[in-house]
Symmetry: C2
Subunit: 204 residues, 2 copies
Amino acid sequence: MTMRDRLFDEGIQILSRDGLAGVTIGRLAAAADCSKSGLFAHFKSKQQLQIELLDAAAAMARAHVVMPIEALPSGLPRLSELVNRWLGWSRRAGLAGGCPVAAALFELDDLDGPVREHVMALESEWRCLLLALVEDAIAEGHFWQGVDSEQISWELCGIYLAHHASSRFLRDKTAGERAHIAVAALFNRAAQSTASNHIRKATI
Amino acid sequence: MTMRDRLFDEGIQILSRDGLAGVTIGRLAAAADCSKSGLFAHFKSKQQLQIELLDAAAAMARAHVVMPIEALPSGLPRLSELVNRWLGWSRRAGLAGGCPVAAALFELDDLDGPVREHVMALESEWRCLLLALVEDAIAEGHFWQGVDSEQISWELCGIYLAHHASSRFLRDKTAGERAHIAVAALFNRAAQSTASNHIRKATI
DNA sequence: TGACACTTAGCACGACCGTTCGTATTATTC
DNA sequence: GAATAATACGAACGGTCGTGCTAAGTGTCA
């Protein structure tokens, strides 16, 4: 295993456990057992390092979540399996902590710069994929025609974040079950032509 | 205005904008226009400072979200108004950034210590309040008797997190509308005796 | 064998980190 | 008016931060 591979491996672990702020040059160099300057030869700056690590994490997610579902039948089967693989993917991918992108959303919400823009691109790409799968489910007739696909994918993201907070911070063992119930209820709503799916003004 | 007040004011703003990691002794001292050692006389350690600032933020949330709804009729009216005030409370309370507690959930998920335990206590207290209001709505007959109150409050937290990420990171103007639609759909589901509310095993 | 790229280490830099110390100013109490 | 407590200050500590510069391997090809 080359030095660069070891830097990526250790870097993603630290990123997952301690977030972007935890990935410091000194710590990563010590974890990968090399000097700070040796590390610095690979990544020209700390921002570059952060961006490349986030990309590597996103590639892991793609390999564990997206690639395995591409052969499945379009529509609800594919979407359901994606969500199943999405929830808690980081643990199954061998990461010590949680999803680095989700954590970055809350870490960089008010801190502008190239890293934030990069996370924005990753997150947008993901939400586009989610939206496309929901629209496939509509096209296949698994969801009601008039359903608001952006609303459904938005709420899926909410369930994912609730699962992250519940399982990782609160360390609630029932988080997986709660998330699956919420997803089932959401899909059930999307399959029916209820008023909830196209109201524009909340009635509460 | 006393020095201590200024330290709290500036501290909560930094905490809201840049998270716990952004609240550094030097930065806060500069923002409040005092020396580092002068600041240190008020808070015996950095952890103490972090904990007191989180408490102050929680107190702000209580004043802006919880206190105003206590006089409202029990059940759905009180719960609905609480959720309305909860979503985006930090901006209305005058904070420059987002909800500090929500951000701390993702920042400290794998970092043990007294600060994490304090955030855990604040979050647990909040979820208990949410749960109690949902159960009031059941008792008042606004929600179906057999509804899983913990599931409903869990999903409410998900909508809150989605709203945070959507409005603060993605800076999506429609976040408020999306959240209200999701809440209305959730309350609608809770009001009906559908299967979605008590399935124990997801059907997906 | 020697020249050449590439990788890594060693070292030093200025800046900021949390923290402690001694001290000067100010307010309160006897 | 003197003693005491509270408050804020400047200076300094040992560390770590991100970032450069220089030099020493290391393998490839002529």
